[in-house]
Every structure is written in C-alpha cells, then in structure tokens.
Amino acid sequence: MTAANTKPHINKTHLHFLLKQMVRIRRFEEKCAELYMQEKIRGFLHLYIGEEAVAVGVMKVLQEDDAVVATYREHGHALAKGLSMDEVMAEMFGKVTGSSRGRGGSMHIFDASKRFYGGNAIVAGALPMAVGLALADKMQNRNRVTVCFFGEGAAAEGEFHESLNLAKLWSLPVLFVCENNLYAMGTALSISESEQHIFKKAQSYGLAAVEVDGMNVVDVEAAAQKCCTAIRQGEGPHLIECHTYRFRGHSMFDTQLYRSPEEVSTWQQKGPILQLKQWLEHNGKLDEVEWQQIEVEVQQEIEQAVAFAEQSEFEPASELCRDVYLESA
C-alpha cells in the first residue's frame, strides 16, 4: 500500500481532527486511571492507551448509521463513535445518567441511538453479533457497514472462525478490525497462535484482508476507507489487522510480569499521538498554541464529564429488576 494511491486526501483540519480525537481518548483514560485509584471507578478497567489510532482511524470513515461492535476495551471506540463523554464517564461511575444507566460500567458501554453495540466482555463473543447485525442490514437492503473490533487473542477462539466463515459465506457488510497489541492479558501472541499473522487467517475464509501500522492513524484510516468502500459496493466482509500496542497493563490489576519496561518504552516511541504530533510539527502544521488549544479543550470536556458524573445520581436499588424483560420497564 503506497501513500500516493490509497491515503485519503490529507489536510490540516483533517489531521487536527484525528489528533484531537486521539488526545480526547488518551486524556479521558488517564483521568479514568486516576479515578480508579480514587475508587470512583471500580470493576475491571481496561485502558486503550497506545491504541487510539485504531478506533480513531476507523471511525473517521464511518457514516452515522454504521454500527460498531467492540470489546471491554471500548472507551476509545465509544468516544470516537460520537457518544457523549459525559455519558461515558457517568457509566464508568455507575451512575444512572451513564450510557447504560450505569449498569454496565467500563466494560459495557452501549448507545443504541449511535449504533454503538458495546462493550462486550466475553472475548470473541461479539463477533457473531456483528455478523447478525450485518445480516439484518443485508436482508433489509440497507447499505450500512458493521465494524467489529477485537483483539488478536480473540482470533484463537472458535467464534472467530465461525463468524468469519458466516460473514464471507453470506457476503455480509462487516469490517473485522483486529487490534493486534501482541498480548492477550499476559499471553504473548507467539505462545498463543501457531500462525501469528492474523490477516493471513482470513484467507481460509476467502476474506479480503490487509495488515496495517496501527500506530499510524492515517494508515489505519486509509485501510478502513478502502475496505468500507469495497463493503458498500457489495464486495462482502473485509479484515484489517492493526499492529498496535497497549502502553498500560491489561487491566488495573495487571503487574505486567510478562513483558519488559524496555519493550513498552520502545513502543511508546512509536505512539500514535506522538507520531502524528511530531509529523505535523515537522511539517509546520501544528504550533504550540494549536496544541495547547487541543489540550485545553479536551481538558475542559473531561472536567465537565467528571463533574457531570459526580453530580449524577445512582439508579435507585428499587429499580434493580427493571429491563430484565421489556414488560418490567
């Protein structure tokens, strides 16, 4: 893939938008980590820090009514898909104003109006759901894309296999995005997959697949653009393997015995925000004032979100059992 023929038309506004989206996610999650320490956020908290280019790059090419299905590491996807930071933060706090009334927490962010389908905490468990959403679109003659994010660890599960086959067999409009961050919890890809190139697995289903530098948001966007265009033209499911890395532990409980600080810092040098920022600076497209403005705006948005979450109420315990079935609402 050469820059010339596949990269989207790049202008400053566009790149600033991508940069700001990544910064929003980064700062939001840094704040979450802080709030976790303060015990405002509990349960499992899986940070996306380091991987922001994937969600941001892919989401840029989606249309409003395209669907997104993600994992328990989905704050970034939620924000990039356009969920309000207030609601996402309130969800982390478990407040009733949260995107899932606070019942889901970090791992289960949903927003039906934004076609954001979670927030799914069983590894690979949401792939079949994405296939089904796309099937419904195809059956109802709607030209929409369903994007399904998952980790490289999920690729070992049987559901990966079943879902890719179904998607291709029925030629469904799904974009599978594998976030290959090299580890599934503490299990390195090298000890979990006999074939470590996830995109090559797509061949066993006849699926079109590419790999891309997941630390480069423009590359991700370009790949997603190409795939989505093909999907919208009826060419069936595609897969993108994004090479990326999480800078933090798997969750807040992770002591990271399985990798060295050196490895982490090598990857940090290639960080998606750092990379884009440096490129923009180097090319005279970002000055300190502009950068500070992004930071300040993001800071304000986050402060507002925290305040919103803090001020919101918890759902009364008397409402515990509503929404188990529709009738009980």
Partner: protein, 328 residues
C-alpha cells in the same frame, strides 16, 4: 387451514412457522439443515420451496456463530427463528444465549432488545444414547432475561410460536422428540391460553401431578391409571418453564394437598426440584405429604431400549409414587 383438522405436532409447528413467515417479512428461519434436508425432524420440510433460500437459511455447523448471528439480526430489526437442531448441541451456543441474549436488555440500561426465538428438540426415547438424549430445560429456566416454553399439545405446538414471536425478549422453545408424531385436532387460536400460563389438563382432588413437554402424556396416562384405582389426580401442564405460573400451581396444591412432579431431567438440580421447593416454601401448611418427583436416573442415557426406559420416567413410576404419596 381448517381448524378442526388433525395435525401432527410436527405439522402444527410447521404451520406455525409458515403462518409467521407469511404474515411478517422480517421473520426468517435459520439453522442446520432446515432447508435442503427439510429439518432434522422434518419440521421445516417444504418451507425452502415455499419461501426460498433467503428466508429458510441453512447454516454451517457452527452453533455459537449462528445463534449469535440470530441475536445480532434480532437487534438489527429482523425476527429470526433460530433452530438449534437439539438441546444437546445448544451447549455450544450457551455463551451466546446466557451472556448475550439474556443480558443485553438489562446491561444496556434497557436500550437494546433481542426479539429472538430459538427452537430446539429435546429429550430421550429414540435410543440416541448419552450425547443425544439430554433434557436441559432446567438450565435455561434458571436464566433471567430469557423465557422458556415447552409446548406439549398440538394446540401449543400450533400457537405458542406466534406468541413467542410477538414477545420482545428472547424465547426458547423446547420440542420433545417423542411428540413430533402425535396427532390431534387443532382448536381455534383464541382457545390457546397465553404463553406464560400453566394449564390444568385434568381436574382432580387427591394429588397434583405437575409436568411439561414429553412427560405430560406419561403423566396423563398415569392419572388415568390412578382414576381406575380411585385416586383423583389433577394434572398441570407447565407450558412455560420461565416464567413459572406459580399461581396455577399453588392453587392446585392448596386444593389437593399433595404434589408429584414429573420431569425427564436428571433428579438432582432438576426443574422438578424447583417446583417442589416452591411448593414447600409457599404451600407448606397445605401439604399433607412430602412433595415428590419422578425424574431420570442420574446416569448418561444409554442406548439399549430397556436401559433407556429404566433411566427415564415411566407411567408405572408415576403411578406407584403417586399412590405412595396419597396413601401415606
């Protein structure tokens, strides 16, 4: 269709599917061998010819995959009927059913719904041995967020599916393999009670026999044998295993003062146990004898006929146990 004609359970089920597909273009049937093969138990025979491949969808062997796809399709506005050939294979789709279908509405704060119907054959009696003879309805009945039906009569086979499809939440329908060939006249739709109501199939005053699905007719036969022995048994057909219609159940026990539950599941942890526990909790002072159950022996169901019979509830066990309860 003429409502007084006789139909087999299989035909009634097929009529129900056909009617649903005719009335609502968003209904489709998906599962292993539902199309070209005509359905493992021939329920969907002919439907492929009538509705075509886009609505009668043969799936690959991938239970988790296509049940999950059914969940997604339901969320996407379709009304899928997913056939998981038998309950034995549904174990491969349990994660999808329990962790996705059952949780999504609540977990999303009420935003999402999964109006999905999953049908599967259940039970033993065809000498299919250990891996093909499970009765795991109790497992599903344990899970909040889903509903579980067990149509036993031809009328229920004919009409419960439509009620399940109207329901906004995931509904599982269990069809006992030994029922498919039963034949009966089909009453009018209006005569079919709501899907969550238990039905008193026979009135009686000495003991309440509770059952459902494949065991219902053994229980009714036992009730008849008991009548000859001057014991008046009331027979309740649960029909819905989740939610349970405890009102019908408790009224009956409060009248008869005695309870026997018949359930093809293994005894320990059976749905029969749940019914006994509920009655012991709520009708304790009305009971004149310990609530009892006739269940399957705690053994993987073996192949030979005589052992399969020995392993599962039979009319004579029901009669003997009922007599013990009444005469103690």
């Amino acid at each position: 269709m003429n409502h007084t004609e006789q139909l087999t359970y299989r035909e009634a089920m097929r009529e129900a599917i056909r009617e649903a597909m005719q009335q609502d273009p968003s209904v489709f049937l998906m599962g292993e061998d539902v199309g070209h093969y005509g359905g493992c138990y021939a329920v969907s025979k002919g439907l492929l010819q009538e509705f075509g491949e886009s609505r009668i969808v043969d799936t690959p062997l991938s239970e988790s995959g296509f049940v999950g796809a059914g969940i997604g399709a339901a969320m996407g506005g379709m009304r899928p009927i997913v056939e998981v050939m038998t309950v034995n294979f549904s174990l491969l789709a349990l994660d999808q059913i329990v962790n996705n279908a059952a949780t999504l509405r609540h977990m999303s704060g009420g935003q999402l719904g999964v109006p999905l119907v999953i049908r599967m054959a259940t039970g033993s009696g065809k000498q299919l041995a250990a891996q093909h003879s499970h009765s795991l309805e109790n497992w599903y009945a344990h899970v909040p967020g889903i509903k579980v039906l067990a149509p036993a009569t031809i009328a229920d086979a004919r009409y419960m599916l439509a009620m399940a499809l109207v329901d906004p939440d995931p509904v599982l329908i269990f069809e006992h393999v030994m029922l498919y060939n039963r034949k009966e006249a089909v009453p009018k739709a209006d005569d079919c009670p709501a899907m969550d109501q238990a039905v008193v199939r026979q009135q009686g005053s000495d003991i309440t026999l509770v059952s459902y699905g494949g065991s219902l007719f053994k229980t009714l036969a036992a009730a008849e044998a008991l009548t000859e022995q001057k014991i008046s048994a009331e027979v309740i057909d649960l029909r819905s295993l989740r939610p349970l219609d405890t009102q019908t159940l408790f009224s009956s026990v409060n009248k008869t003062h005695r309870l026997l539950v018949v359930d093809e599941g293994w005894r320990t942890g059976s749905l029969a146990g749940e019914i006994c526990a509920l009655v012991a909790e709520h009708c304790f002072w009305a009971l004149d004898a310990p609530p009892q159950r006739v269940c399957s022996q705690e053994v993987p169901i073996p192949y030979p006929k005589h052992l399969e019979i020995a392993a599962t509830p039979q009319v004579e066990h029901i009669v003997t146990t009922a007599k013990q309860i009444v005469y103690r």
